[in-house]
Symmetry: D2
Subunit: 137 residues, 4 copies
């Protein structure tokens, strides 16, 4: 099994709201950025490359997030990405965000695989499945 | 019981990704905008006013979303907000997004009530509870 | 001449930073939303409809903004849009943002007109020019 | 003189619009992220730390941007930040974005220095001026 994939984010002033912590609406976007970075680093390209060069779409069908502790710009935000469940034509990612060793949020994100130009579900292509299996928790 | 509260959003080009549909990360933000508009219209002010003028914080502890159909700029996005569960010091909102009569997404969003300047949980204030009860589904 | 076009925005908690005013990076996005709403209301569709249904692209070549006063969620943000300059194949919009009667920001935004699927500049189509002329300041 | 400061951004699917290039409204935000990263790396903290720990505000009074070529997720976006002008209580940053050796956008961003809790202009503090002078172009 591979080490847990991690993606670091520099949290900024603009991510924060008047309570001086990251606005709730930014956090799902951080998670999506972490999943995209995971695909980029393990598959040679994020959603953009998968869709345009491989005709493979990955629309989301569900996301679920628990917010455990505030996120601030005082520490790097370390997002880890792992594969929680691998179906025939879907994948569920587990994303956790830590700052300074503390769990700030954890979530689950499910995507289905499609033939992009036909909007039809497809089984996960072998080149992708091999990579995802390597990151199953 | 009040009618279901609705908040309309003009979806734009910038909300869409290269698949020509709204990017996943925008949708939780649409839901938050709808909840804030609900508070603004029913309590005389959104989170900003509640926090600064009433010293009442409402941090989120959970969100969960199912994506049912793509959202596009071709129709107004009608977001409905209702109260799914009312606890002693927490509320769960149910948000649904419809376009042209079709359900596009539905989600659940839980906030706790705090004394803003002390970051301590508090029971839902009476002026707020009365309004939320009126929107229980 | 038409009345000055206006588009109102409900500013939210999530638009604000820890200084309790709208984050600078949100303001160009408010202006773009106002221009898109102007196109939607005057041409029967914003950039999405123009690009997909009329094969007309409108990429930006310049934006310039002066920030005159903070924007907050305490008042609606009224954005006005007018045409400051109309070239053969470009338009410059002037956008102003007011809250409670006070000018908060003013900016200039220049787009060129293209045949979308060929990325080639084109003269402003007649149906569009007629509308834009009506909003020249 | 220091080397030109650079900050790399991983452009994502969600940054792009249906024309398959980065949406205009994202680009000022990329520039602000680059300026914040510059402050973080040269002053030991971005706007958040400056405001909360040093009581130093840096509100923007102007931004101006020329868009030279589309930005896509195909290459890292390298943003360079330099100081174009240093006044008594203001600084103008010059930000350029390059992809694969090509200039994509260039802009100018002016901030004034304030005593944060009093919203009053102040001369640039010495610890900050020394750093900014080192990055004058």
């Amino acid at each position: 099994m591979a080490d847990r994939y991690t993606h670091d984010i520099l949290v900024t002033w603009g991510d924060c709201d008047p309570a001086r912590i990251v606005y709730t609406g930014r956090i799902p976007n951080f998670c999506l950025d972490a999943i995209n970075a995971f695909l980029n680093d393990t598959l040679g390209g994020g959603w953009f490359i998968q869709e345009l060069d491989h005709n493979m779409g990955m629309p989301f069908v569900n996301m679920s997030l628990d917010f455990r502790a505030p996120v601030t710009p005082r520490h790097p935000l370390r997002c880890s990405v792992a594969v929680a469940r691998l179906g025939t034509s879907s994948v569920t990612f587990r994303v956790e965000g830590h700052q300074d060793g503390r769990l700030c949020f954890e979530g689950s994100f499910t995507e289905v695989f499609t033939v992009a130009d036909r909007f039809e579900k497809q089984p996960i292509p072998e080149r992708v499945r091999r990579v995802l299996e390597n990151h199953l928790t």
